[in-house]
Amino acid sequence: MHREWFEPALAEHLDRVVAPDELWERIQRPRVKAARVPIGVNAARLCACAALALILWMIPWQRGVRSGDAAEIRGWVRAKAGIDVPLRAYPAGVQLIGANASRGSVEIAYRVSNRDGRLFIGGRHAASSGKVFTGSIAGHTFTLECATPEDLRIACNLCHIG
């Protein structure tokens, strides 16, 4: 019953086509086809990449210390970088977060009024501005960065008394 319309339709739409000229080129120079990777393998690769990215993201702090204790941070920096940063035990208005050392420089993280700031010692030299102050400490260049000029003034308490 279906033959009236069905087989001609198939014959019409499944008829022979002309092969592209490129086919001969392909046969003369067979290219290596990339094997199709199963979805599961791709998912596993994606997870591995995500894990690697997470690890890389965490590396700076794996090389560092997280602490609000000035003495602990000072001791850690001295041990890791050989630099004695005269951090005050209780810097007014400043909350220490931690430190890390990499490529001959030290970074000490802190917070002023819940805003992040950084103290860089060695390896980083920035011109002073309203939010950045560059100076010298124990023979090392340091840079103090804050979110606002007011924070910068308070951040001086890390090492100095107001």
Partner: protein, 185 residues
């Protein structure tokens, strides 16, 4: 097999690259069409056709001159199609058909697009058939082979071919019923 074909094949067996080009030109459309109608994907069809011809080139020494070259070639293409299926390669319709249709001369763009859409529909639905049914459909409708010829290529009985084709027809008829409505309108 005609004497000319036999000479070409014998030249191929001696490693004559010009003869292989002649063989390729004679069968390229057949091989590519089967691959395209089976896979429903131009890129995949190129892979299958390429692989088929490389298999021909690699095993032409094993071909016995008393056999039918065309059947031998069909078997290689069918096996390559099935190998690709087994490897889990994507067998889906292609957008290129639409692009091709727009480029086709002598028709209005609307007509070309409509025809391409129907063709795409048919091909997509054929590409969803079970591999053993799809092979039979391609050999029957793309190559126009008889049940006996298909049976010879697939190494089964004509009854098995008829049975597979019948099952394929039922599926295709159901899935392509909208074409009938369009045709009747």
């Amino acid at each position: 097999m005609e004497a000319n074909d036999r000479e070409v094949i014998e030249a191929c067996q001696r490693g004559d690259s010009d003869a292989f080009r002649v063989l390729f030109e004679a069968h390229k459309d057949r091989v590519y069409s089967m691959a395209l109608r089976y896979s429903g994907d131009r890129a995949l069809a190129m892979d299958i056709a390429q692989e088929s011809f490389l298999k021909v080139l690699g095993s032409i020494q094993e071909f016995r001159s008393e056999a039918c070259f065309q059947s031998w070639l069909y078997r290689i293409v069918v096996n390559t199609c099935l190998d690709h299926q087994r490897r889990g390669r994507r067998m889906l319709p292609f957008l290129g058909e639409l692009v091709e249709a727009v480029r086709a001369p002598g028709e209005t763009v609307l007509h070309r697009l409509m025809r391409a859409e129907v063709e795409d529909d048919v091909q997509r639905i054929v590409a969803r058939l079970a591999p053993e049914q799809r092979v039979v459909v391609v050999l029957r409708y793309t190559e126009g082979l008889s049940y006996e010829q298909i049976a010879q290529i697939l190494g089964c009985s004509p009854g098995t071919v008829a049975s597979r084709l019948n099952r394929a027809h039922k599926v295709l008829e159901r899935r392509l019923s909208h074409l009938r409505r369009v045709g009747n309108a």
